[in-house]
C-alpha cells in the first residue's frame, strides 16, 4: 500500500462521496458438528488433546489412503441449504483445489467447485432499514486444513509446526451476494446465520475456531450494483481474509470502511486487494507478496463419486427455525416483539426461556431478555452456564414477592459470580437468606411495634427531623426522600407499597 501524495488535493474537489454505499459480501466457513471428520473416522473432539492425536492415514494424507464421505456431514449441509432456501443441485461433486502449503495433508484440499451442493438461496434478517433479504450464492462442503503453529510468533519462528487434528473437519462454506450494506448489518447477518445453524443442530458456536469469515468490501457510488449504476466506475475492493470471530467481522469491516473512505478521499485508486485482519490491533493489513496470482487448477475428485441428493433433501424435515419460533413466542407467550427477537436470537436462550416461561411468560421474558443476558454479557458468560431450574426458582421468589426486583437482581449477580468463580452456586433461596434479602413481611397492624417496616420508618423519622418538617410544611419531595431512606434502611427488602402506607400512616398520626 503506497500513498500517492501528489494527487490528493485536486481529486478531493471533483469526487463526491455523499452518495456512497458500502457493499459487503461474505464467505462464511462453519465447522459442521459431526462426530467424525468429513473423509475418515477420526473423532472431531480434539480440542482438549495434544497435536496429531486425532489422525489416521486418510487425514494425514498418507499415500494410498482414500477419502470416504461422511453421510452426516452431507445431511447437515442439506439442512443448511434447505434452511437458507437454496436450490439443491441435481448432481453435485467434490473437486480438488490444488495449492502447496504445509497445512494441506495431500497437497490439495477436497472441496466443491463448479458443481456445489446447493445454490441461489436467501436469509431474511433485521437489516439497518428493517426486514431485509440477503441472497445466498452457494453452499458447499469442504474439508478443513491442518493448523500451523509458529513458536515465538510468525515473524521470528525458524520453522513451522503442523498439527493435523483439524485436518479433515467438515466445513460448510456459505457465500452471500454483495447485499450487505454496513458492518453492523454484516454482524446481524452472522448472528442470524449462527442462530439458524444452531437451531438446525449442525453447528456448535462455542467451539473454538468453529466459524471463520472472509469479507468482500467496497465503497461504491449509490446504485452501483443496480442495473442503472452498472456504467459507473468500479472503485475497487478489498477481500479481508480469515476473520475468526463475530465481533471481529464488524471490527474489521468498520476499519475497512474508514480506511477505504479515507483513501478515496485522498484520491487513491484501491484496485483489488487481499487483506488480513489483525485481531489484536483491530486493523487490516495488506498481504502483498504472498497471494500472487493463484491458479488452483480445480478438477473433479476422482476418488469420490458424485452426489445426487435432491430427493434425500426433500425428505429432510427441518426443526423450528428462529423466525418461526419468534412468531410463536409472540402468540404463545405474549412476548413483546423486542423480547421475542432477543429470546429467539440464540437457540440456548430460547430453550432456556421456554424452560421457565410457564411460571409467568412476561415476567420470565423480562428477566431473561433484559436482566439475565445483560449480566451474562457483562461477565462474558454463556447462558449454558446457568441452570434453568435455579433461575426458575429465582423467578418464583420474585413473582411470589419473597424478594423484590432489586433484591432479585442482587441475588442473580451473586449467583453468576459464584458460577464464574467455581462453576457452581448456592440455590437462590439460600442466597436470599445469606444476603438477608427476604422481603420484610409486615406483621400485625400498621405501626405495630414488631413490624419491621414500621420500625425502620420510625427510625428514619427520628433521624431526619428536617425532612419531616419539610413534609409537614407541604413539600411532597420530602416524602419521597423519606421513602427512599426507609428502603435504604431495609436494604430494598421492604415492598415500596408497604413503605408508602406505613410512612404516611405514622406521619399522618404525628401531624
Amino acid at each position: 500500500m503506497t500513498e500517492t501524495a501528489g494527487t490528493t488535493g485536486q481529486e478531493n474537489r471533483v469526487m463526491d462521496f455523499s452518495d456512497d454505499e458500502v457493499i459487503i459480501g461474505l464467505e462464511i466457513h462453519c465447522q459442521l458438528d459431526t462426530l467424525t471428520k468429513l473423509f475418515c473416522g477420526c473423532s472431531t473432539d480434539y480440542r482438549d488433546d495434544g497435536p496429531n492425536t486425532h489422525v489416521c492415514p486418510i487425514c494425514l494424507g498418507l499415500p494410498g489412503s482414500l477419502p470416504r464421505v461422511n453421510r452426516k456431514a452431507i445431511e447437515y449441509a442439506l439442512r443448511v441449504a434447505k434452511a437458507l432456501n437454496c436450490t439443491i443441485i441435481e448432481e453435485s461433486e467434490f473437486a480438488r483445489k490444488n495449492y502447496f502449503y504445509p497445512d494441506l495433508n495431500k497437497g490439495f484440499q477436497i472441496t466443491q467447485y463448479d458443481r456445489p451442493l446447493a445454490v441461489r438461496g436467501y436469509l431474511d434478517i433485521e437489516g439497518d432499514d428493517g426486514e431485509k433479504r440477503v441472497r445466498i450464492t452457494r453452499v458447499h462442503v469442504e474439508e478443513d486444513p491442518g493448523r500451523l503453529v509458529h513458536k515465538g510468533g510468525a515473524d521470528r519462528a525458524k520453522y513451522t509446526l503442523v498439527d493435523y487434528n483439524r485436518a479433515g473437519i467438515p466445513l460448510i462454506e456459505i457465500v452471500t451476494e454483495p447485499d450487505i450494506r454496513s458492518p453492523k448489518e454484516a454482524r446481524k447477518f452472522l448472528n442470524k446465520l449462527r442462530a439458524t445453524l444452531e437451531y438446525l443442530g449442525v453447528f456448535d458456536s462455542e467451539k473454538e475456531g468453529s466459524l471463520r469469515v472472509d469479507a468482500n468490501i467496497s465503497i461504491q457510488p449509490k446504485g452501483w450494483f443496480t442495473r442503472e449504476g452498472k456504467g459507473k466506475a468500479d472503485r475497487g475492493r478489498a477481500e479481508v481474509k480469515n476473520i475468526s470471530s463475530y465481533k471481529g467481522v464488524e471490527k474489521a469491516l468498520t476499519f475497512e470502511v474508514t480506511r477505504q473512505k479515507n483513501a478515496l478521499r485522498r484520491g487513491q485508486r484501491l484496485g483489488t486487494e487481499t487483506r488480513h485482519f489483525v485481531e489484536t490491533r483491530g486493523i487490516t493489513t495488506s498481504s502483498r507478496s504472498k497471494e500472487m496470482e493463484q491458479d488452483y487448477r480445480y478438477f473433479p475428485e476422482p476418488d469420490l463419486r458424485p452426489l445426487q441428493v435432491c430427493s434425500w433433501a426433500e425428505e429432510i424435515v427441518l426443526p423450528e427455525l428462529p423466525d418461526a419460533r419468534r412468531a410463536r413466542f409472540l402468540t404463545q407467550y405474549g412476548c413483546s416483539p423486542i423480547h421475542a427477537r432477543t429470546l429467539t436470537g440464540d437457540l440456548r436462550v430460547a430453550e432456556f426461556y421456554e424452560h421457565i416461561a410457564t411460571i409467568d411468560p412476561v415476567l420470565a421474558a423480562t428477566w431473561v431478555a433484559d436482566t439475565l443476558l445483560g449480566e451474562l454479557n457483562y461477565r462474558d458468560m454463556g447462558v449454558s452456564r446457568v441452570s434453568p431450574e435455579s433461575f426458575r426458582e429465582l423467578i418464583v421468589l420474585v413473582k411470589e414477592g419473597s424478594v423484590t426486583d432489586k433484591g432479585g437482581v442482587e441475588v442473580l449477580r451473586s449467583l453468576l459470580d459464584q458460577i464464574k468463580e467455581s462453576g457452581s452456586c448456592e440455590t437462590p433461596g439460600e442466597c436470599v437468606g445469606r444476603l438477608g434479602l427476604r422481603v420484610l413481611e409486615r406483621t400485625g397492624e400498621t405501626g405495630a411495634d414488631d413490624d419491621p417496616v414500621a420500625k425502620a420508618a420510625r427510625e428514619v423519622i427520628a433521624e431526619q427531623p428536617q425532612a419531616v418538617a419539610d413534609f409537614h410544611a407541604g413539600k411532597k419531595e420530602a416524602f419521597n426522600f423519606l421513602v427512599g431512606q426507609v428502603m435504604k434502611k431495609t436494604r430494598g427488602r421492604a415492598k415500596p407499597a408497604d413503605v408508602n402506607q406505613v410512612l404516611s400512616g405514622i406521619l399522618g398520626k404525628e401531624g
Binding site: L66, F108, R305
Partner: protein
C-alpha cells in the same frame, strides 16, 4: 505360522525389496510366494514407487489387496521394480535402475509393472500383483510372455495403492497361467468399502474354455498404423485359433481411437500433477529441509526427488488444468473419454469380447526409446480399456523375432469372467 524362504538371484533387477522370510497361512494361496509391485502399500515394508522422493517411507498399513493375499495364506516375498509412480512403458524410469526382460536381457520387460512380469517370467515367483493405469499390467505381460489382467474399474479396491491416475488405474493379477489369474481374482475382488469407487462384485468363477458361438469383435484400428505387421500377423493367428474353436470373428471400427491416447495422457497427467503434490517431506519420506523457506524446500525436493519423466508429466498435467487451458485439454479429454466408452458400449451390443494385439510391437531394446511422445504412442492399444473402465487381459500368443507377443481380450464392464474364459480357451488351444 509356517514361513517361506525367498533368496533369489535377482539377475533381471525385478525387485526393489526382497524379504528372505515370508509368513504364510492356510487358505487358497497357502504357501505361495507372491511379489507385489512397489506402489502397493505394505505395512512395515518400504514402499517406494521406485522414486527417491519416497525414500525411507514405511507404510503403517497394508493395502486392501495385501490384506486379502495374507488372509488367503500367501507370503509376500518382495516388492517389485517399476517405472517411477507407474509413469512409463519400459521399467527404465526407476530410481533403482531398469529391469531386464528375462526373455531377452537386452530388452526392456515393458512397464510399468516390469518387475512383477520379469519376476514371474524368470520363475522367481508364481504370481504377482501389478497395477494398470494405461496398460501397465498388460504391456509387461505381453513383452515378457506371461498373463496379466486389468480388472474392471471398481472391481478391486485401490485402498493402499499409491495413486498415479485414480480414475484410470486398477490393481490386477499377473501369472504364468490363466488359471492362476482366475485364482487371484477370486481373492482380490473381496469388497472394500474404503474405496468409494469400488463395487461389491466378487469373482467366484472357474475358467470355462468353451467359445462356441462367442462373437469376437476385431477393431480395424487395432491392426492399423503403427502396429508392427509381424506382431499383427501373430495376433491374427491367435484370433484364428479361437475361430477354429467355434468363435465367430466380426471386424468392426472404433473411431474414438483417434482421440484415445491424447485423452489418456491429458487425464493421467492432470490427476498425477495433483496426486504427487503430497510428497512434501513433512509427514513421511526424505525429510524436508527446515532451514529453507517452504517453497524453496518443496521445489528442491521435487527437483531432486522426481525423475525427468515424472517432472514432465507433472508439468503437462499442471498445464492441462491451468486456467485458460482446462477447457482445451482436461474438459476435452473427458469428452473424448466418454466417446471411447460409448464406442465400447456400442460394440458390446453386437460382440461378446474385443480382441487385438496388446502392444503394437515386441519389447524394445533397453535405451532404445528416448523421446517421450513415441514412448506414449506405444500405449495406444492398451489405454482404451482404462478410459472405458472395462476388463482387459493379455495372454501370450506366440513370438515375433523370437520375442513374446500378447493377445489382448477386452470385455464389457464386470465381465472379467468372460475375458478370462476366452484367454483360457486360447491357452488351452495352444497347449493342445
Amino acid at each position: 505360522m509356517p514361513t517361506l524362504t525367498f533368496s533369489p538371484k535377482d539377475r533381471y533387477n525385478a525387485f526393489i525389496t526382497t524379504l528372505n522370510e515370508a509368513g504364510t497361512g492356510p487358505g487358497k494361496l497357502s504357501g505361495i510366494g507372491i511379489a507385489v509391485k512397489d506402489n502397493i502399500s505394505t505395512s512395515g515394508i518400504p514402499t517406494t514407487c521406485a522414486s527417491r522422493i519416497l525414500e525411507g517411507y514405511i507404510p503403517p498399513f497394508d493395502a486392501h489387496v495385501v490384506t486379502l493375499l495374507k488372509k488367503a495364506g500367501a507370503g509376500i516375498v518382495g516388492k517389485t521394480n517399476m517405472d517411477e509412480f507407474g509413469m512409463g512403458t519400459t521399467t527404465e524410469n526407476s530410481a533403482f535402475g531398469p529391469t531386464k526382460n528375462p526373455a531377452d536381457p537386452s530388452r526392456v520387460p515393458g512397464g510399468s509393472s516390469g518387475g512383477s512380469a520379469a519376476a514371474i517370467a524368470a520363475g522367481m515367483v508364481r504370481m504377482a500383483l501389478g497395477t494398470d493405469t494405461g496398460g501397465s499390467i498388460r504391456c509387461p505381460a505381453a513383452f515378457c510372455g506371461i498373463v496379466g489382467h486389468k480388472p474392471t474399474y471398481g472391481r478391486v479396491s485401490r485402498y493402499g495403492l499409491i495413486a498415479y491416475a485414480n480414475s484410470l488405474e486398477q490393481i490386477g493379477p499377473m501369472a504364468r497361467t490363466v488359471s492362476d489369474i482366475s485364482l487371484l481374482m477370486e481373492i482380490l475382488t473381496a469388497y472394500d468399502p474404503r474405496d468409494s469407487t469400488s463395487i461389491n462384485c466378487p469373482y467366484a468363477h472357474t475358467p470355462d474354455p468353451d467359445v462356441h458361438g462367442l462373437k469376437i469383435g476385431v477393431p480395424e484400428e487395432y491392426f492399423g498404423e503403427g502396429v508392427d505387421p509381424r506382431v499383427a500377423s501373430v495376433v491374427w493367428e491367435g484370433i484364428s485359433l479361437l475361430e477354429r474353436k467355434g468363435a465367430e470373428i466380426i471386424t468392426c471400427r472404433m473411431p474414438s481411437m483417434a482421440y484415445a491416447l491424447a485423452a489418456y495422457y491429458v487425464t493421467c497427467t492432470s490427476e498425477a500433477s495433483s496426486n504427487l503434490a503430497r510428497f512434501d517431506g513433512v509427514r513421511y519420506g526424505h525429510p524436508a529441509d527446515t532451514k529453507l523457506q517452504w517453497h524453496e524446500s518443496f521445489q528442491d525436493r521435487r527437483r531432486n526427488g522426481f525423475g525427468t519423466e515424472v517432472k514432465r508429466r507433472i508439468m503437462l498435467g499442471t498445464f492441462a488444468l491451468s486456467s485458460g487451458y482446462y477447457g482445451k485439454y482436461y474438459a476435452k479429454a473427458q469428452a473424448a473419454r466418454q466417446q471411447v466408452r460409448t464406442d465400447f458400449l456400442r460394440l458390446f451390443r453386437s460382440v461378446d469380447v474385443i480382441a487385438g494385439p496388446t502392444m503394437p510391437t515386441v519389447a524394445f531394446r533397453l535405451g532404445e526409446k528416448t523421446d517421450p511422445l513415441s514412448m506414449y504412442l506405444s500405449d495406444i492399444l492398451t489405454v482404451p480399456a482404462n478410459l472405458a473402465g472395462i476388463p482387459a487381459i493379455s495372454v501370450p500368443c506366440g513370438t515375433s523375432e523370437g520375442l513374446p507377443v500378447g493377445l489382448q481380450i477386452m470385455g464389457p464392464h464386470f465381465r472379467d469372467e468372460r475375458v478370462i474364459d476366452v484367454a483360457y480357451a486360447y491357452e488351452l488351444g495352444v497347449a493342445r
